[in-house]
């Protein structure tokens, strides 16, 4: 579960980076989430806090089945400019698919160029050691 949460945090960080290219007034689009009651047995949804970006609020929801993310819903995203719409059309689906593919890797360890003590902090191995 920690790994799933890490992936969502990484996605959120990516979203914030994308949304930070320029500033403008916030306008929000609120999508209609699937009601939890319609989820198949064994699945549950977790809704994240609203992240306030320079572009406006972003909120995501993940659907989890036996500690694996099976779906990511973007509940709220800015939509007041052409740039926002592009993000909604291309970037969100890409980040969502990366979230899903990263956790599907289910890795135990990482082999790569030798990191220093300092470089370890930023490594995937460090995330695994911390129970991600």
């Amino acid at each position: 579960m920690r790994r799933a949460i890490l992936a969502v945090i990484a996605t959120a960080a990516g979203l914030v980076a994308l949304l930070s290219f320029k500033t403008h007034s916030a306008e929000r689009t609120v999508a209609t989430p699937e009601p939890s009651a319609s989820l198949p047995p064994g699945e549950r949804s977790i809704t994240g806090d609203v992240a306030n970006t320079a572009y406006g609020p972003v909120q995501v929801q993940v659907v989890v089945a036996t500690s694996k993310i099976v779906k990511v819903n973007v509940l709220e995203q800015p939509s007041s400019t052409e740039h926002d719409l592009q993000i909604g059309q291309f970037a969100f689906p890409k980040l969502i698919s990366e979230t899903l593919s990263m956790q599907s890797a289910r890795i135990d360890s990482v082999s790569g160029a030798t990191y220093t003590s300092g470089g370890y902090i930023k490594s995937l191995q460090s995330a695994l050691d911390n129970g991600a």
């Binding site: 890795i107 990482v110 082999s111 790569g112 160029a113 490594s123």
Partner: protein
């Protein structure tokens, strides 16, 4: 121990800062209780004290300054030097215990030390464990009954991503590359940083050898490395070139999971 409790697979993860990097352990909880995890950690710190070129009073530093003799060092020194000479000859001089001209067997010592740490755990009775020394892995058994360990190979061209995932059981996975510390691997024949490869991974039984082979092959550059790694008995290679192309030796195929 009753069967009902032995079936419960409680595992411990531990990260130890040592040898200028971090060595990560994934061990059964028994390794903590029987002291073998502590023994393995103690061993790594002993190796650091004796073999670190960054400690002025280490045997390696004393030897480099000709202030001691091999016979006066810990007996492991002769073992390490013999192995370095063997790999130097096997690699046509692309691996050396004196990269850049100064005596420094670190290119062999880290993999060797991590392999020995894993062996200490095996000797104490652990069947399934994994030790990762700064990106070079020695594993025993698997992640769970009947399941091999799944080890991601870092993508050297896209930080934080994996190039692929390999399955491994009772073997070592070592990767040399420029992603973490820049172009630091020298071609001993030219004295210049090796170029042409972004990373090179070796899989085989021993991490001491796999790590040294990866360093040698990286120093060779793409063309020579491909021929040389294909000739290694029991060791397989996977490479990513600086341009982002990949190749692997035939023996590597069975490790690729997806």
């Amino acid at each position: 121990m009753p069967a009902s409790t032995s079936a419960v697979d409680v595992r411990v993860r531990h990260a130890e800062h040592v040898m200028g990097t971090v060595v990560s352990f994934d061990v059964p909880v028994s390794a903590r209780h029987d002291g073998s995890l502590a023994d393995a950690i103690g061993w790594l710190h002993w190796v650091d004290r004796v073999f670190s070129p960054y400690r002025a009073d280490s045997d390696v530093s004393l030897l480099a300054r000709a202030e001691t003799t091999i016979g006066a060092c810990a007996p492991e020194m002769a073992e390490v030097l013999a192995a370095c000479a063997l790999i130097r000859d096997l690699s046509g001089g692309y691996f050396t215990a004196a990269p850049g001209g100064q005596f420094d067997p670190s290119g062999y010592v880290k993999g060797w030390a991590v392999e020995r740490a894993a062996a200490l755990l095996s000797r104490a009775g652990s069947a399934d464990h994994l030790v990762n020394g700064g990106g070079d892995v020695q594993c025993a058994g698997g992640r769970a009954a009947g399941e091999p360990w799944r080890i991601g190979i870092a993508d050297p061209l896209r930080s934080g991503r994996l190039a692929l995932v390999v399955s491994a059981r009772d073997c070592a996975v070592a990767t040399s590359g420029t992603a973490e510390r820049g172009p630091h691997i020298l071609d001993p024949h030219t004295g210049q940083p090796a170029s042409g490869l972004a990373s090179l991974t070796i899989i085989g039984p021993s991490l001491a050898l796999a790590d040294a082979y990866a360093t040698a092959a990286f120093a060779m550059g793409p063309a020579r490395a491909r021929d040389w790694t294909a000739s290694l008995d029991g060791y397989a290679a996977f490479a990513i070139t600086a341009a982002g192309d990949t190749w692997h030796t035939p023996g590597f195929t069975r490790h690729i999971t997806e």
